[in-house]
Amino acid sequence: KIEKAKPIKCGTFGATSLQQRYLATGDFGGSLNIWNLEAPEIPVYSVKGHKEIINSIDGVGGLGIGEGAPEIVTGSRDGTVKVWDPRQKDTPVANMEPVQGESKRDCWTVAFGNAYNQEERVVCAGYDNGDIKLFDLKTMSLRWETNIKNGVCSVEFDRKDVNMNKLVATSLEGKFHVFDMRTQHPTKGFASVSEKAQKSTRWRVRPLPQNRDVFMTSGGAGSLHLWKYEYPAQRSKKDSEGVEMGVAGSVSLLQNVTLSTQPISSLDWSPDKKGLCVCGAFDQTVRVLIVTKLNKV
């Protein structure tokens, strides 16, 4: 057991190799730290990256997931999203910030995606006002943005390391949206389908590592919902002007359970054992679940 001065909000192993297993954390003070868990006294990497709490963190390039450099992205209440390379001290390799004067939105969630080769990589960020922004790190540009009306609690690509396929975004009001990220229409963006699980907030979404079309959402009322995305017959079609546009599929509920009366705020799947997952709730319990018959989905 290790105790640190500042409460830790989020952490990831995403940017470290399978052998190193360094944990990257974001804390309430806005610092990003990377810890060697075998020598946890001093962080291997530390930077005061944000002025306020780091709400969300994601890593890519490690764990055999994602091509290219190991990078960590942090999203903070100060409205910025920063990308860090553990090899570069003190300064982020990319910084995404609202324009001066524009009101700073609280960034609640960040996720890497599209890291299928050494160059390509995108960062998706969700904000408290329902904005979702997709930054292309290769071209260093804002590739796409949309608003889903309610605060974005969690965004997640179904796979970080394939050519962008799907993006799931969950919202405060219990709705979640699945975007088909293969076909981007110049004006309409990506096609999406939305589904409402419950009235309560969808806190977290996680795609099954063994099957990207199955994902679990965790809800404000202590419930977990297991979903499956079904692709349409044709994933893209031509609009009236002959421009390719995506076609959204449909989402079906496979199973749901209620574990607690308190919100389940975090959730993850085991990369090794199909169906094994762990979730943490506000009732200060960590629960381990096994989902069976996933291979029949």
């Binding site: 390379d85 071209t139 260093m140 394939v162 063994q210 209620t258």
Partner: protein
Amino acid sequence: MGDESVPFLLDQGTTKTYQIPIGHLDYKFIEKCTDVKHLEKILRVLRSGEEGCYPELTLFCEKRIEHLDPRSRALRKDKPAATPSDFTAEEWETINGELMSWVTEMNEDDKKPQFLRTDTLHERQDNLPPIRCSSSCLPANQNKTLQNKQRNKKNIPRDYNEWDKFDVEKECSKIDEGCEENDSKARFFSRPSLPIIEKKIDTTGMTKKEKIFVATREKEKGNEAFAIGDYVEAVTYYTRSISVIPTAAAYNNKAQAEIKLQDWDSALQDCEKVLDMDPGNVKALMRRATVHIQLQNYQPAIEDLNKVLCVEPENTIVKKNLVEIEKKLKGLKPVSETQGKGRRILIQDIEDSEDDEERGENTEERERSGREKKIGVPVGGEAATEEAEMGNAHRKFHSKGGGSKAEDRDTQKQKESTECGLKKETSEKKSQKHLSDHEGEVNGYLHSDQKSESPEAESSKSHGAESQSGGGGSSTSLPPTAAKLKSEGNELFKSGQFGEAVLKYSEAIEYVIGLGGQSPDDLSILYSNRAACYLKEGNCNNCIQDCNRALELQPFSLKPLLRRAMANESMERYRQAYIDYKTVLQIDSSIQAANDSANRITKTLIDQDGPSWREKLSPIPVVPVAAQLHRWDGGNFTSEKQPTSTTDINREEQLQMNREKAEEKFKTLKTAGNDFVKKGKYEEAVNKYSECMKLNTEECTIYTNRALCYLKLYKYEEAKQDCDHVLQIEDSNIKAFYRRALAYKGLQNYQASVDDFNRVLLIDPNVLEAKKELEEVTQLLNIDSSAAAGSQQKQRKKITIQEVTECDDQEERQFAAPEGVVTDHVTSKEAVQESVPLKTSEKLRISEPSNAYDFGQIINAVNTNKDKAACADLLTIIDPKKMPVLLSNKLEGEIFLIFIQSLEYYLVGKDPGLVYQHLFYLSKAERFRVVLALLSKNEKEQVQQLFNSLSENQNHQYTLEDLESLKKVYEL
């Protein structure tokens, strides 16, 4: 049923939450109700218990909803997590067991010593891509890196807007002044249409465990891609998985994906790999059978399917497939079924075993004497050119699925032959290159070839007998010794001993010749068989020789022709091969291999010789009807074509081939022509179009386009002819009419011109240019005076108008030729489109806009163009009173200004009253004050000037006092 009586009694009143009549909470109602939404509400009321608790009714309602809409959200219930008690003992056992075994497995792994630490880590770090942003500088130079980093800090964009504006190229060039600029460009700007995914994964420094993990992941990705039908991606990920650890499953899946992509050969290869690893793999066997069926290797397909049946005797799919194959074989050869099995396979196999040995040797001579007198074979030098182009052609081959197969096989054969040292290849260098190109594939093929050996042998045996069955006789007429030798040869062939088989066949041939007077059929068969052996050995020249002899004895017999074609093809004598294939197809159009090859060669020849490749071909011999009928009588073929008019077939085929490549050429020519028009080079454009016409006389647009060029060149007569032509084909081509009208006008045949314009208007009354032209021409007709200067002027005008019609047409958009006013606007494609509204407004004098939207459109067009004349026209037709409404809140400084200017330049003189009205109502428009406040001094002066002119041109519609008060409104 006690519950339901209650709602009956409470028929009046509604529920509290949804105001549903209480009566609806009833079995009968629910049973009949089809409105899911309503039922959901009822269910919610029932569940809430506010009207009382009716568990049975609730259940009933749920069932009803489920029946109507199984996916209804109302049916979702919160469920507690399952516990052991929810499962049967066995189920729990399995779940628990699985978990436990996994846990122990994991624990074991954890306990294993974790070697490969720091050193490998470093190694891996070295392979990592550079840090972002500083990526474009050299990582080797430490100082430089630091410098750049500092600069980078400044350059990193700080907000979204900056992100959008971020000029990567500029930034890059700033960072490393010119050096590596190309590099960075490529890095940032190449966004390929297809995602580039590395085919291999660098596994240095990975532990075995990691490798397994990565390989599984990649395979899973492949599976996912496969599941959604993205087979190309799936294959890529399977390949990646294999690159880490080759597993049977990955190969197997890859094969399946390749089958979906119809990449039969890779699929075959992968199936073989699987079967190497796991000889009894049912899936792989099934898949290989599928591939074989597709490649029409029915015999091996049957074998594979039978193997599957041994393992899974109940497999219905396999049984079905078997039946289908039987059917196909029957269809293929209803008479001699057993023999027929081998027939196609033979063709296939021979195709596979091509070789380009001894290419230098001139076999043309022999070939000519061989048969088919009509084939004028290109000589010596030609072969050399082919050789030079060989690499090229091959690469092209490779890119398309069908072709690559033959080629790969062929390389493999080359390898074999070189190894055997049977012949010294003159083109050894070439083949060496090939080998290195295909080394990867070759290994796979070694295997696959062996597999295919057995069926083929059988076929060859049968082949001798049936190939000539058209002749009515079979091998029975052979003297026993020869027959024996032949069957021995066949046996040897079957076992893959081609060299020995050749000897046997040669003996048989000698024997037969020695006897003399034997039927040429048998001899031909023997030659043909020996040719097959030679082909197998890769001895193409001997093969061709034997084929020639066989054909001498038996003109137009199928097998030797095919074999010669294959030999020629492998020697890259594509022309000869093409001719042979075509001849084969004349005899039997259903031979798939020949069809495929012919198509393949066509492409190669086009690549090689360009569009006029056909001219270099010697004429394809016309197969006498007899030979075809012959076949028919033999009942060997299911040819679909009527054998009666061979020449027709011939021509038809040729036409078809022609069409393919002609289309391409046609398009390029057309675009070239269009480009010329765009540049105003009408002469050149005419030339291009004329060439187009040679290729395709049907396409009307070319004629209309050329007509346009002629019009521009003032060649009215020619233009008229082109239009006439179009109108013959398509009697309501509006463009043709329009252009002919213009041509007539140019020819001063005004009456005809008027007629044509009228026709245009008849087809589409909205063509305002035509109306205008019509007026003009009618006038001309009336006056009947032709002033030279005037006509020149008119011509110019005509042409500009012409462009407007072009703009409407998608196809001919490029046509909008820059001239005069339009010049600024046609530079880019978008601009062309934009010029449409502009033009309309200019030429039409716009019909009065009915609403603010229309008005806005016109104003935009006018504004982008600063076309004051058009604006003045607009202002003339618009009732000033409506102006504030039409403008709504869209009044802007620019628009305001253009209004003022148009009023000043065009209208004050004509109708000062109108100008006053406009100014008056303009001041009533929304945003008027804002716009006024933002006017610059200069612009204010313009307004002032307008007022001055107004007071000068004062008329009865307004008084000076009015003007003064208005001036105040305008803050002057």
